[in-house]
Amino acid sequence: MTIMQSTAGHRARFKAGMLVALVGVPAVLAAYLTAAGLLRLLPADMWWQSLGATDFADPRQLLYRHAFLPRLAISLLAGAALGLTGTLLQQLLRNPLAEPTTIGTNAGATVALTIATLYAPWMLEQGREWVALAGGALSTLAVLALARGRSFSPVAIIISGLVVSLTCSSASALLMAANREYSEELFIWQSGSLIQNGDAVVLGFAPWLAMAGIAAFLLLRPLRLLDLSDEGAESLGTKPVVTRLAGMTVAVALSSMVVAAVGVISFVALAAPALVRLAGARTLRQRMIWAPLAGAMLLWLTDRLVQVLPFTSEIPAGVATAFLGAPLLFLLLPKLRTSPDRDGTMLASVRRRSGWAYLLLGLVAMALLLCAALVVGRGATGWHVASAAELADLQPLRAPRIVVAVCAGMMLGVVGTLMQRMTGNPMAAPEVLGISGGASLGILLLFVATSDVNRPAMIAAGLVGALVSLAMVSPAGRQQPLAPDRLLLSGVAVATMASAFSAVMLASGDPRLDTLIGWLSGSTYRATAADATIAAVAATALLAIVPLTSRWLEILPLGEAASRGLGLGLFRVRVVLLVLISVPTTIATLVIGPLSFVGLMAPHLARMLGLRRALPQLFASAMLGGMMLVSVDWAGRMLIFPWQIPAGLLAALVGGPYFMVLMWKGRQ
């Protein structure tokens, strides 16, 4: 008995030691860097004295009091807030990937601030907090409303969050692209810089954090009961729905405040709770204490590190956390226990149709659409249907865009179907795999490395980036033979890194960014005849090969055990599917930018039409994807002529709400 107690005591001490190390090591490093930085600013004997009675005539003391200390304070406070938010959300949603980005809060707050900055700057005169809170709350409410029909089941929330986020972020990207020179402020702010210009932000933020912390600890017991099944929790006298709503309110308020104060700081909310859990904090109470501490230390250290890095312009902390956090996630992946919540009934179950008649109809619709997109257009004098003679001139301009759009859409539709069937995860999409993220990372690096950016160089850089990210993703996923959830996690890491990097590029103010913005938002503007040829060949090849995998795709969604039982060589199957996923995704990304919505939506739409068997779903997704991109590309060229809305943005802007309506209708 005593022996058992003492081993348990050892284990507890060991765990506590890990946690202390997790928080302590970054803290010591950060403290060292802080002290070193401060010594360069102000002699040590003045630190204390200057705190109370600052002599503003001395620029050193001015910097100390109104830049150094507020920045130190906000890094700790924001880090703690993110650690707490992440812990709450992961508990609420029973999902280790949950953070303010996943549930749509960040995107909602961002789009609200974007709209206010560009069109109603007077709203920001009283501060950004309320605008951010309104936006974050609205988008989260939308997410919850969509998930309500399924009692806020984790998967439903994650999918709704993804859809709402994509819609919101395309809306803000679109607004910024249309107001390029006015968006500088937004670019800077979005990238999450902790630079302070006084103590106003800290003083405004601290009470919110305190209130949220108190509320979170008051909610501790009902939150803990969420570990049980919803029925179990109810039998113990709590209402899981009420708990989730209350917890969400706290998390949303807190993350909106972080967004308002310093912009989007990625990965801290994800990494801090994951790290403390790995370090041995098992109970919710432990995690709620240690995760904010870990978050604070991580952000503090990151913010000190970006200040000692030798760059002309300082990298914003929000971007740096993504760079530091993504590799961290790769390291963690093998250890992280993922519990996939396969929610096959997520979407409305419609009467199953064999669907071949539908496919014929789809083919006719697609042909008509392609002709219309080629012939109908706008000019200086208004709407115009091109004559045969005019088409000879217009065709070199329009045809590559249309071909690229339809082929990329078809490939993304197929790839989305493959991924969703392979992973059994309805939120799987090409972007989630990180291939498009890797390709954009490659092209962004090209922009940094050289001033001469041309199309072949962009293609080469994108291809290298895509392949590198594929190589990075694969080993991480292979620890347990290419397990689907790990693959998704690795993909998320790459995608986040890429988006963080694009944020820092956008904030750099380089005048060449227009090209980059166009590409990142999925524009077909730069499509050449060569691009069209590549895309057409790739799409044809994909459609020819993919029917051969239909048996695998019928079996894989049944789960690993069933697949093995039915004699599927899982490793071989997954490798083949990975190739079939990554190559078309790379090509689609190269020609049309890192679009993701089409790959997510087309398979769902096909399923909603009742095409649930693998082969009809594949072809239907291909057609739907192609038609979606062609329509939005055409609409994007017409709506605000002579300006153009990138196809990818419009796809998300139109497709997102449509998808939400479908989810809403199908919730019973």
Binding site: L124, E184, E185, A380, D510
Partner: protein, 287 residues
């Protein structure tokens, strides 16, 4: 590009004094020019030609401001994606763009000859390059005399302003753009503004390295480094940013702000040509 030789100068002066107005080249309708971005648009307008279309013409009015766009100038869409179908319909005689936008040139060349201004490519100082590019564009458009005159008038205007400054004590100044309340973009080596300051014999208070476009993005607190130097802030600053800057305790206590040395000047396109140089020098003299 050949440097300004004596022969070219004489030819230009002769052309100017002999009254180019009677030149048959000018009785012909002016070339129809479409501009894909603002730097070349500024140059084209400075040479006395109203472009038929300019990309993001609203942005030009806000951020470049002068020389003014002619009435009836069409919008070509964004600078990142100028509308090719509209260009095709307009059938311009010449399309102008600038180096570094990463646009594929082939589609434009299929529509009309394309003249690109290789700005900030690091081969020359921006002001010198602006002079050479203006002359090149002038010969492309058949406006050699105007181009030469523009070069000379700009130099003359700057040296005149330099004379105005010569009486005053040389107080260093920093040129900044403010986009939010925590950061400034400060212009230094490799920027057009630096070249103009040099020609005015003024000292740029910002001497730290800059990126290839001649500016650095900094936290506002780094302006402590310039002490009580004058700060020239370029419009437009969004109104809410202005309010937040005024509320900032750090900004209010910066030595340059405390000393009352911050001046706002009307918009000048930092990546512009000779017209931007003149505008900058003129506003500086008034600030």
């Amino acid at each position: 590009m050949a440097p300004l030789t004596r022969r070219r100068c004489l030819a230009g002066l002769a052309a100017t004094s002999l009254g180019v107005r009677g030149d048959p080249a000018h009785t012909a309708p002016p070339p129809r020019v479409a501009c894909l971005e603002w730097t070349s648009a500024e140059m084209v307008i400075s040479l006395g030609i109203g472009p038929v279309a300019v990309a993001d013409s609203k942005g030009y009015r806000d951020w470049v401001a002068g020389p003014a766009l002619p009435a009836g100038c069409l919008d070509l869409g964004s600078r990142g994606e100028p509308n090719l179908e509209l260009l095709l319909e307009l059938k311009p005689d010449l399309i102008t763009g600038a180096y570094g936008y990463g646009l594929d040139e082939a589609p434009f060349r299929r529509i009309a000859p394309l003249h690109t201004v290789p700005f900030y490519d690091g081969t020359e100082a921006p002001y010198r390059q602006a002079e050479n590019e203006t002359l090149k564009l002038g010969s492309q458009l058949g406006r050699e005399a105007e181009a030469l005159r523009l070069v000379q008038e700009t130099a003359a205007a700057i040296s005149q302003i330099r004379a105005q400054f010569s009486g005053r004590a040389d107080q260093p100044l920093a040129v900044v753009s403010m986009f939010d309340d925590r950061h400034v973009r400060v212009y230094g080596k490799g920027s057009l503004f630096q070249d103009v300051l040099d020609r005015l014999s003024l000292t740029n208070a910002w001497t730290a390295p800059t990126d290839s476009w001649g500016f650095s993005m900094l936290g506002i607190e780094e302006l402590v480094a310039i002490g009580e130097a004058r700060v020239i802030s370029l419009d437009p600053i969004p109104p809410h940013v202005k309010i937040r800057i005024d509320q900032s305790s750090l900004w209010a206590n910066l030595p340059c702000v405390k000393a009352g040395n911050v001046r706002t000047i009307p918009p000048v396109w930092p990546f512009g040509g000779l017209a931007a140089a003149t505008r900058f020098a003129t506003f500086l003299a008034r600030a």
